[in-house]
């Protein structure tokens, strides 16, 4: 069954097609050489016979029958491959080294292939010959030929060699094709087996490399890289699930306890009212956390790219700075912005506005009174660079990467309002735009740097 399957592999089919083509062309080549060589040898024999006939005819016309007989006798006495028979008009032998006229049909001017018995050192041997039949003036019959036994044997050998080499070629080709498809099937089997194991749930499995550094290894490497990425995404997702559980459960628990405790003992209408208002505020906080989560999820899937359009960062910044200017002023913080004339990128205006608003909001929130927040937009090669700088406490170096991940808030700010999703949302939107975000030390304070690719 497995063996039958092997015939069905594409590798075997390919080998078979190749084998047929190869065998056909090899055959054509050998056959061409064979027919040419054999034809050449045959025509040489015929030419030699013609030349002898010409000589014997001349002999006959110059010295008549006795002269011809003499020459035939002389030539017949020579040990060689020449065959002669001079006969009367009734085919009775006069002279020559053939004992009898061949049984094969002859006729004037005709070529004849026949066999005769050659006696050499007392041993008779049946041999193959070729001759031409000539009728001389006076009714005498002359047969001039050559022994072609060796030539025919060589031809037979070549023919059988041709046949066997064809058999061997096809046989070896079939075996080669099977071996080749077997080895390819075996390597694909390894990949298939690994995929099945992964589908059954073991995502840590990887396709082993053969070390041959060929296309199968390249395929395996690509598959492994893909699996690595899937594993990273999966673990990212389970991290998200953990974080959602944490950031939604805590306020939900608070909400539930508050309502439960309020109901434990009779209270005044005022107390009930306060508890309900607090519950509404808590649920508003939950809704906003939930919305941020959804937005992050949407940004991470890249779906929002459909809404991308040419957007001028300068006008985005100007609008957001204008939105926050009164807030900064109320806190006696100077909010300044410096910008180049224009920086067009491909992006979602709403999301970028939200990102910049987030950064400025944070900067104002963490900067003490009489501090300063500055926003700048510069061009750097093919990139537009937005910087939001504040004079707040900054973020310790060790925690900077950490805060860009989902849900993280610094322990110190745990009790301030806000869902802690701000910077993770910023990071997600920057990833969506193929941009970068970096947090640095503004000494004192924090500098958040956003890098966008300019539209070309």
């Amino acid at each position: 069954m497995r063996f039958l399957n092997l015939f069905r592999t594409s590798a075997f089919r390919l080998a078979l097609v190749y084998l047929l083509l190869f065998a056909a062309s090899a055959f054509a080549l050998i056959a061409f050489i064979y027919w040419n060589t054999a034809g050449f040898m045959a025509s040489q024999t015929d030419e030699t016979i013609e030349a002898e006939i010409l000589g014997l005819r001349e002999q006959y016309s110059s010295s008549g029958l006795p002269g011809l007989r003499q020459v035939v006798l002389e030539r017949s006495a020579n040990v060689g491959s020449g065959l002669y028979l001079l006969a009367n008009s009734d085919y009775s032998r006069i002279a020559g080294n053939l004992t009898a006229w061949p049984a094969a049909p002859t006729g004037r001017g005709r070529w004849v292939d026949f066999t005769y018995d050659r006696v050499l050192s007392g041993v008779a041997e049946r041999r193959t010959a070729r001759a031409r039949h000539i009728e001389l003036l006076g009714g005498f019959q002359l047969l001039v030929g050559r022994d072609v036994h060796e030539r025919r044997e060589i031809e037979d050998r070549i023919e059988s060699a041709l046949f066997w080499s064809a058999v061997i070629t096809v046989g070896l080709g079939l075996i080669g094709g099977l071996v080749m498809s077997r080895s390819q099937t075996r390597r694909l089997d390894v990949i298939n087996r690994t995929s099945r194991e992964i589908m059954e749930g073991d995502l840590s499995r990887r396709v082993p490399l053969s070390g041959a550094d060929d296309e199968f290894d390249e395929l395996a490497t690509n598959l492994n890289d893909m699996l690595d990425q899937i594993e990273r995404l999966m673990s990212g997702m389970s991290e998200v699930a953990d974080n959602i559980a944490h950031d939604l459960r805590t306020p939900l628990n608070r909400l539930r306890s508050r309502l439960e405790v309020t109901l434990m003992r009779p209270a005044t209408e005022q107390e009930y009212r306060e508890a309900l208002e607090a519950a509404i505020m808590e649920s508003d906080g939950l809704i906003s956390t939930f919305n941020s989560l959804l937005l992050i999820a949407r940004a991470e899937t890249g779906e929002a790219r459909e809404n991308f359009e040419p957007t001028d960062l300068k006008s985005v910044l100007a609008d957001v700075v204008e939105l926050y200017e009164p807030l900064a002023e109320a806190k006696r913080i100077s909010l300044k912005s410096v910008s180049v004339k224009q920086a067009i990128i491909n992006g979602d205006r709403g999301l970028i506005s939200q990102v910049v608003a987030n950064l400025i909001d944070n900067a104002i929130k963490y900067t003490p009174e009489d501090g300063a927040v500055s926003v700048s937009l510069k061009l750097q090669g093919e990139q537009a660079v937005v910087e939001v700088r504040d004079t707040g406490p900054g973020i310790p170096q060790a925690e900077r990467d950490h805060v860009l991940r989902r849900f993280v808030r610094l322990e110190a700010s745990r009790n301030e309002p806000g869902s802690g999703l701000g910077l993770s949302l910023v990071a997600a939107v920057m990833r969506l735009h193929d941009g970068e975000i970096a947090l640095g030390d503004a000494a004192p304070g924090l500098v958040a740097t956003l890098k966008f690719n300019l539209r070309d």
């Binding site: 919305n291 609008d319 939105l323 009164p326 987030n358 909001d361 929130k365 701000g422």
Partner: protein
């Protein structure tokens, strides 16, 4: 300066919502605010009611059995029914908002929403329905806004406004006497569809209030607790 209740004129409202509990709360909330409310539990029933009765506003859920919210509104518009429609939707994407408005909706509110937000938006929709003549001058009490020269006056005294403050005041004056929520202001004056973490709108309002109300005994710009703001003159 604070007003506790949201006083609006009584409206005839149609609610098309398939979730029975959600609909019951909504009907209760709207009735308690003094409105007359009909409820349809699916699109087909909603369409029949919309055909039979005259409503001030229809509140339509996006996902409905039998006839989807978008199709319902498209059908209403094809039949020449011009009742203002407010979509409620659990799909809060910008795309869905655009789809809703394209299908003939007039406003779009993602779930979960605050009832005060819904009330304010319903009010704005009803008043917008009244033919809006081209105005060059808006007046609330002794506050005047000249839309051509882009200048503002209170009791004849000129008020110096920044461009965005002008837009903010214009929106408040166009909706004079109505409650305007922070989200409505962000959407209509700034064209932002996200919620800033800090209530930046409050600071803009208090800045505007300092410019138009400071030094006057009659305050025009009121804060409506738990809802938003209202610009109005005591009649």
């Amino acid at each position: 300066m604070f007003t506790d209740s949201i006083a609006t004129d009584s409206m005839r409202l149609l609610i098309v919502e398939d979730d029975r509990d959600a609909a019951a709360y909504l009907v209760k909330g709207l009735k308690e605010s003094g409105h007359v409310v009909d409820h349809a539990k699916d699109g087909v029933e909603g369409l029949a009611l919309a055909r039979a009765q005259g409503y001030d506003v229809a509140i339509v859920d996006r996902m409905l059995p039998r006839l989807d919210g978008l199709q319902l509104v498209q059908k209403m518009r094809e039949e020449g029914n011009l009742v203002p429609v407010l979509f409620l939707s659990a799909l809060g994407d910008i795309d869905d908002r655009v789809k809703g408005l394209k299908a003939g909706g007039d406003d779009y509110l993602p779930k979960p929403y605050a009832i005060v937000e819904l009330l304010a938006r319903l009010d704005a929709l009803v008043r917008r329905r009244q033919p809006e003549q081209v105005q060059t001058r808006l007046t609330v009490g002794d506050l005047e806004l000249d839309l051509l020269s882009r200048s503002a006056f209170r009791s004849g005294q000129s008020i110096d406004l920044q461009p965005r403050e002008f837009l903010l005041l214009e929106y408040l004056m166009r909706h004079a006497g109505q409650v305007v929520t922070r989200t409505m202001l962000l959407e209509n004056v700034w064209d932002y569809h996200f919620d800033p973490q800090t209530n930046v709108i409050d600071v803009h309002i208090s800045r505007l209030r300092a410019k138009i109300d400071k030094g006057f005994t009659e305050q025009l710009l009121h804060t409506v607790r738990g809802a938003g703001y209202c610009l109005r003159a005591v009649p």
